[in-house]
């Protein structure tokens, strides 16, 4: 099977300027995320994981180097085009869930579809379907504050899937959950990968979670230290 890159980073630098001090959060990272793979990025706090994920998710532009999404260099793209592309191709899952408190579960899952101009009936239908798939069929009209942490993160997963993205990006998705609930979320992500063939990028500092991934990228001081293939899992979906 010919591998297709969903996103490619070439010698990417991210430099933050804080007054006179500069922080090199990423220092020449080159990386491809292949279609259908489950890749984990692991590293100590401050190593640049979130910075990297923001770039992979087209939330930010590099200071130096190039990022190609569908062959197009995102540094050259307008912010509003970038937003459209994020909405269509990328599904984010955050540590803090980031659900809108005023909206029901259905409303939150439907939100990304609003920005793609999908009509309401279609949105509700799809949101219901997705919430059913994360076992929240009974909680469609609950507000985030009426849901447990694990349930909220499942709503967030459903939301990330709303526009059939090419890739799911999860930054510490279990960081705010206890280990049992965290385990449920992880196996849900694993299922999305093995059963649905979804591309998943997981960012974590928890070494126990990388066992779910096919490929583990070790990040240290803004550079890729090593890449390890997880052979135990690697062949499952191929």
């Amino acid at each position: 099977m010919k591998k297709k890159a969903v996103i490619s980073l070439r010698k990417v630098w991210k430099i933050y300027k804080m007054g006179s001090a500069t922080v090199n959060a990423l220092r020449g990272v080159t990386l491809d995320v292949w279609q259908g793979e489950f890749v984990a990025i692991i590293g100590p706090s401050g190593s640049g994981k979130s910075t990297l994920m923001n770039l992979v998710g087209a939330l930010d532009k590099p200071s130096r180097g190039h990022i190609f999404l569908d062959g197009k260099d995102i540094s050259l793209m307008e912010e509003s085009d970038l937003a459209q592309i994020r909405g269509q191709k990328i599904g984010f899952i955050f540590q803090q869930f980031n659900l809108l408190p005023a909206l029901s579960a259905t409303g939150n899952v439907g939100l990304p579809m609003i920005f793609q101009g999908i009509p309401e009936a279609k949105r509700v239908e799809r949101a219901t379907e997705l919430l059913n798939s994360v076992n929240l069929g009974e909680r469609l009209n609950h507000k985030p504050n009426e849901l447990s942490g694990g349930q909220q993160q499942r709503v967030a997963i459903a939301r990330a899937l709303a526009n059939e993205p090419e890739m799911l990006l999860a930054d510490e998705p279990t960081g705010n959950l206890d280990s049992k609930t965290g385990g449920e979320i992880m196996s849900m992500l694993e299922d999305l990968h093995t059963k649905k063939g979804r591309t998943i990028v997981l960012v974590t500092h928890d070494i126990h979670l990388v066992k779910h991934a096919e490929r583990v990228i070790y990040l240290k001081d803004g550079q890729i230290e090593k890449v390890v293939k997880n052979h135990k899992r690697g062949h499952k979906h191929a």
């Binding site: 939330l59 509003s80 994020r86 909405g87 408190p101 939100l111 990304p112 920005f115 793609q116 309401e120």
Partner: protein, 403 residues
């Protein structure tokens, strides 16, 4: 999708009801003031117009220059006479015209002597020109009539004993300028002491006792149906100018129509209304600034949400639109409440007026209704533009990290 943004706006309002209410208070007051003032003002103006028309829309008045409704022309100005009346009568478009005299007269009743206003009213066919515009009625006895000579109708204060020590009754006798008159009627209350203490007598009797065979203080004419009062006033002015041999703009007389008097009144009214609306506009401006302030606060509080929306595909324009719609509806909400309060104010005034017997309807026009709502929405939306732009320019990563 605008419908969704409107829905989000209402979710946000209901999540912060008190703040929403306080924010729109300025708009509420401004719109309530505008709607209240205009609806009451328009109603009032309509009522006044109607009353004026009913009374004397087809009348015109000729007075010596500077005389107007005041008593006695200033010294040096020429008097009006019977001959002037004849000229007025013959002017184009004039139906009929009459003249009257009014003067301060020496009046003795019992052994008391006072100096009230005495008016000589014609009793011929021109009498009804005067009685049309005189809003008073006869409450006791009868009005003056053709054939009366030394008969008088007295103001209510005389009848009530408020003017002379002893009250003046029907069939009592008064001495005016040395001539004895019989009281035949009493006028209803007009409301000011000067009018309520006046005495009306036939014009012929007034000419005799004041020794004024020619002079008239006041000529009133009625315009023939189909003619415009102001056109007739122009031809009266022209004719009188020729007759009295004066140049244009140097006339020693005034010709006024009720239309003109009404216009003068309207002008004053519009000025007052403009000032009040100016004040209301200031409160709307303050209201707009209040909304702007709230929207800036809201952008700060919702920075994280904005970051989230951007990460899931919201463009800058989506975010800007979302906030402009929200602040527009904030303004509209204030406008609706203000409209209700303003309209109720109008109805309250209307009710109050009806309690004291004033015929008065507030007038809430469709333009005012739609205009005030549109205006409050636009005020809110405009106030929201700057905060909305600042929201739309937030960088997604930084907005997401914001706590």
């Amino acid at each position: 999708m605008i419908k969704d943004y409107v829905y989000f706006a209402f979710l946000n309002f209901s999540a912060r009801k008190l703040r929403t209410f306080l924010t729109v208070l300025g708009i509420i007051i401004g719109i309530a003031a505008v709607v209240g003032l205009i609806s009451i003002g328009e109603g009032l103006q309509e009522t006044i117009n109607e009353q004026f028309r009913a009374l004397g829309g087809d009348k015109l008045i000729v007075t010596p220059k500077g005389g107007g409704f005041a008593i006695g022309a200033p010294s040096g100005s020429a008097d009006l006479t019977k001959d002037d009346l004849d000229v007025v009568r013959k002017s184009r478009g004039m139906d009929k015209a009459g003249g009257m005299i009014f003067k301060l007269g020496q009046v003795t009743y019992g052994d008391e002597r006072k100096t009230p206003f005495v008016s000589g009213i014609p009793q011929d066919e021109t009498k009804d020109i005067f009685s049309d515009i005189q809003t008073f009625s006869i409450v006791e006895g009868r009005d003056l009539m053709d054939g009366d000579k030394y008969s008088a109708v007295v103001g209510i204060l005389l009848y009530e004993g408020e003017y002379f020590d002893k009250s003046v009754k029907i069939r009592d006798r008064l001495t005016i300028e040395g001539q004895e008159f019989k009281v035949v009627g009493v006028l209803g209350r007009i409301g000011n002491p000067q009018d309520d203490s006046q005495i009306l007598i036939p014009l012929e009797a007034a000419r005799e006792i004041f020794d004024e065979p020619e002079k008239l203080d006041f000529i009133m004419g009625q315009v023939r149906p189909g003619f415009t009062p102001s056109d007739v006033a122009d031809s009266v002015t022209r004719d009188l100018r020729k007759f009295r041999d004066v140049d244009e703009d140097e006339e020693d007389f005034d010709v006024q129509t009720f239309e003109q008097i009404l216009e003068t009144f309207s002008d004053i009214f519009s000025v007052v209304q403009a000032i009040l609306i100016g004040i209301a506009a200031i409160s709307l401006l303050v209201g707009g600034i209040g909304i702007m302030n709230t929207m800036y606060t809201s952008v700060l509080q919702r920075t994280n949400e904005i970051g989230l929306m951007k990460s899931i595909g919201a463009r800058n324009s989506d975010i800007a639109l979302l906030f402009v719609i929200e602040s527009g509806f904030l303004g509209l909400a204030g406008g609706i409440i203000g409209l209700i309060i303003g309209a109720s104010m109008g109805l309250l005034v209307e009710f109050g007026a009806s309690q004291v017997g004033l015929p008065f309807n507030t007038h809430l026009s469709f333009t005012l209704l739609v205009g005030s709502l549109l205006f409050s929405f636009v005020t809110g939306a405009v106030a929201g533009v700057a905060p909305a732009i600042s929201a739309s320019k937030l960088k997604p990563v930084e907005a997401l990290r914001y706590e």
